[in-house]
Symmetry: C2
Subunit: 462 residues, 2 copies
């Protein structure tokens, strides 16, 4: 059985920072079992204009099945930090809380809860690491991929974007989840066969330079591959790009009735110039329907530049820079206690305070476009569409939290993205003017909680 | 069973780009089953002065166990691209090749093979995606972590570095492998309990702000936690850092005989200034042995800056920026065909050519320090230490390829890093002057292969 260690770890409650477990034992020892409320949110936009929420599905799977195996308990026992009675208690542990969340594929902004966990405080604390890990990463990639899709105009034209990132993303789980997140954000297909299988995504691919090199000639490679895969895409830049295009044309002319390829792929050099020249040669030969695909170090900025130069490119293979979100490989997410035992809580650390108490977010519209989000206290009824649903109740998924196919989430994302003001969907990093405000009640609660904490601190001061 | 899709994917040969499978079928149909040689190497240093090779262990595990399950074959069958006979052949597929590699924890430079796969070409091609995925990511993180360790002076002083990255790295596999890679690079411990269990790494942790906030007062939280964990580290910045330090001192004075904590953690604000002030207060109270730990957005640059300012910090918790290698989240790795059927092969694409044929790398020393690497043809005997071992033969791991504990790899890394010229281990990104040269025989082969390819292209030209 391969990857034994990894599998064991991923299906185990040990998928946590050590302090989650030491704090869990402390809460248990102190008899602190009242409900805590934790918000998972992003602190700052960084170089994004919005985030596309993603990762809830795997978070709920984790919460549903969380338990400590005998092996996990044995490992903890060996650490000399955990008592026998506590380990016995852990052996029956399960997550019994409620979860409120924004549906996957919804655009969100800083300070808005993506997920709110309401559970006995030790339970809510334990799951921090996994939830942050999955939601941060998947939201990071969905947000990046959404920009790539916008830059390619993939929603408005026939232009295609494929995820080619599997080889240089951060490990196996990243490859799976990045393919899923990119598809949700509007990418059309992935090269990742395992992700295709697991999530029902369209899979795609062309050929590698090595295949061309292993043959006695480029033409021999093209002939063999197009014989086997009649609608394939030939990689033309192994030795000399324009030479490769000419050979493709010769091959098609030579065997007009037998072989029809779908397109060619350019993977190096000046892609705009090569695309123009390739298009000209193909069109002159009467192959106007042969598509031109481009790949090689692409991201939303390079795609925008190529299209600005009028490059006649019909599809982009985008890999490493999208799959690692290279310009912003992590979002500044936090999972913060905002209530315990019915009382709002918050942190006052320098530049890291958070909003106290339970919340709802209302998205308000004018003329069919979103104009403002209001972060309100839970229970307030404001104008606009509430973004958060109850997705888990007493540890069980609700109807709103049921697993949804990637296609459905992708449609939701397309609709919600279309709802944003156009300026946010441009690449310009200066566009940060979407209005996110606190409701009057939230403002009041924030001030009251801060004052009350300052009072406590003064009373405590030595 | 949670994560079912993911587990299935990771233990499956479908963990590949689609084109690996279509090329495999093409090779099979064409009867091309002679041995191909593929090199896995990094093209450019980018913002590193060296790379620390990592990820071989999981690559060999994958190769040893690679097979197509019935479910995988069923999925491929449903794609309408694969013939029945081929799928039948796949059902008995196994990796039968040889693998040569640099041991994990060895510093390497651009163009030097980290792994060389010699196998029937379809087999060698199929495994590209997994090998690139694991070795790129793990080498990316080990190379980054090595810089963090150097900046902290962790090898030369008692100063500690802990990996706190689990919550914002790219998924579950990344969290596991990043903890391992960082430990190999010299990081002392990880917060990741699952990685501690899987790889035998030391685990560590402190407490969270939420724990402090859930209590009626900061003092109550400190008291409860230090009762339960006598050598704990208290997080002092939830409300006001210096106030938190004073409360820690009061607590220790109040209960001198019962409680001894190990240290305090600062997680926000001006860490250098707060460390100076905290140290002064602790020393004045006679607590010279209480350590000061710092965390919060750290990387090698911030650590160097803090130490330049004389910050009396005894340990660093380093998270997101190390675990995502934020300044260079992927290395420019390639897996390139360099031989087929006994003939050297290479690619001539613009700026992406590679070295033909099988290789060995010799590291040459002067005065006990490495001064030069020579990339030679396999079989040459040059001065210096050969870096590549045969780690797999006919699909079975050799003694040199046997699984090694993380501790042993870490020791190897420390020794090989100490062997590098001092200037390479500084943060200065301009230090790129380590000499990597081709042997005379390699130079000759490179030129001859290029000429021969150009000849072929001319002969083929329309």
């Amino acid at each position: 059985m391969p990857f034994d260690d990894q599998l064991r770890a991923e299906t185990s409650a040990l998928y946590a920072d050590l302090y989650q477990l030491t704090m869990l034992q402390a809460y248990w020892r102190e008899g602190m079992d009242e409900r805590g409320v934790f918000d998972l949110f992003v602190r700052r936009l960084g170089s994004r204009n919005y985030f596309l929420a993603c990762g809830l599905e795997q978070s709920l799977e984790f919460l549903e099945t969380l338990s400590f195996s005998d092996e996990a308990l044995g490992y903890l026992d060996a650490q000399d930090q955990f008592g026998d009675e506590f380990l016995e208690w852990l052996s029956d542990f399960e997550f019994t809380g409620d979860v409120y969340a924004v549906p996957e594929g919804t655009p969100v902004f800083p300070d808005e809860p993506i997920v709110e966990v309401v559970a006995p405080i030790g339970e809510a604390q334990l799951v921090e690491t996994f939830l942050l890990n999955q939601i941060t990463f998947q939201t990071t990639i969905a947000s990046k991929a959404s920009r790539v899709v916008e830059a390619a105009g993939a929603g408005e034209t026939d232009r295609l974007v494929a995820d080619f990132g599997m080889r240089r993303v951060h490990g196996t789980d990243a490859a799976m989840k990045a393919a899923r997140a990119a598809y949700i954000a509007g990418v059309d297909a992935t090269s990742n066969v395992a992700a295709g299988q697991a999530y029902g995504l369209p899979i795609t691919g062309t050929m590698a330079h090595s295949y061309v090199e292993a043959h006695d000639s480029e033409v021999a490679a093209f002939r063999a591959f197009s014989d086997l895969y009649p609608e394939t895409i030939l990689l033309v830049d192994t030795y000399d790009t324009i030479g490769g295009v000419r050979k493709t044309i010769d091959l098609m002319e030579e065997r007009e009735d037998d072989v029809h390829i779908r397109g060619i792929r350019l993977d190096s050099g000046d892609l705009a110039e090569l695309a123009h020249e390739s298009r000209r040669l193909l069109d002159e030969a009467g192959f106007e329907d042969i598509m031109i695909f481009a790949s090689g170090g692409l991201d939303e900025y390079k795609i925008a530049e190529l299209l600005d130069r009028g490059a006649p490119i019909d599809g982009f293979g985008v890999g490493t820079k999208m799959g690692t979100a290279a310009d912003q490989p992590a979002l500044d997410t936090a999972y913060k206690l905002c209530g315990y035992a019915g009382t709002p809580r918050m942190k006052l650390s320098a530049q890291k305070s958070n909003l106290p108490g339970r919340k709802q977010v209302f998205r308000q519209h004018e003329d069919d476009a979103a104009v403002r989000d209001v972060i309100a206290t839970r229970g307030e009824q404001l104008n606009g569409t509430p973004l958060m649903d109850c997705v888990m109740s007493n540890g069980e998924r609700t109807d709103a939290g049921a697993s949804r196919p990637a296609d459905a989430i992708r449609e939701h994302a397309a609709a919600r993205l279309a709802d944003l003001p156009d300026r946010l969907r441009r690449l310009d990093p200066e566009v940060k003017d979407y209005e996110v405000v606190l409701s009057g009640a939230m403002e009041k609660r924030f001030n009251a909680t801060r004052e009350s904490l300052r009072g406590t601190m003064t009373a405590e001061a030595p």
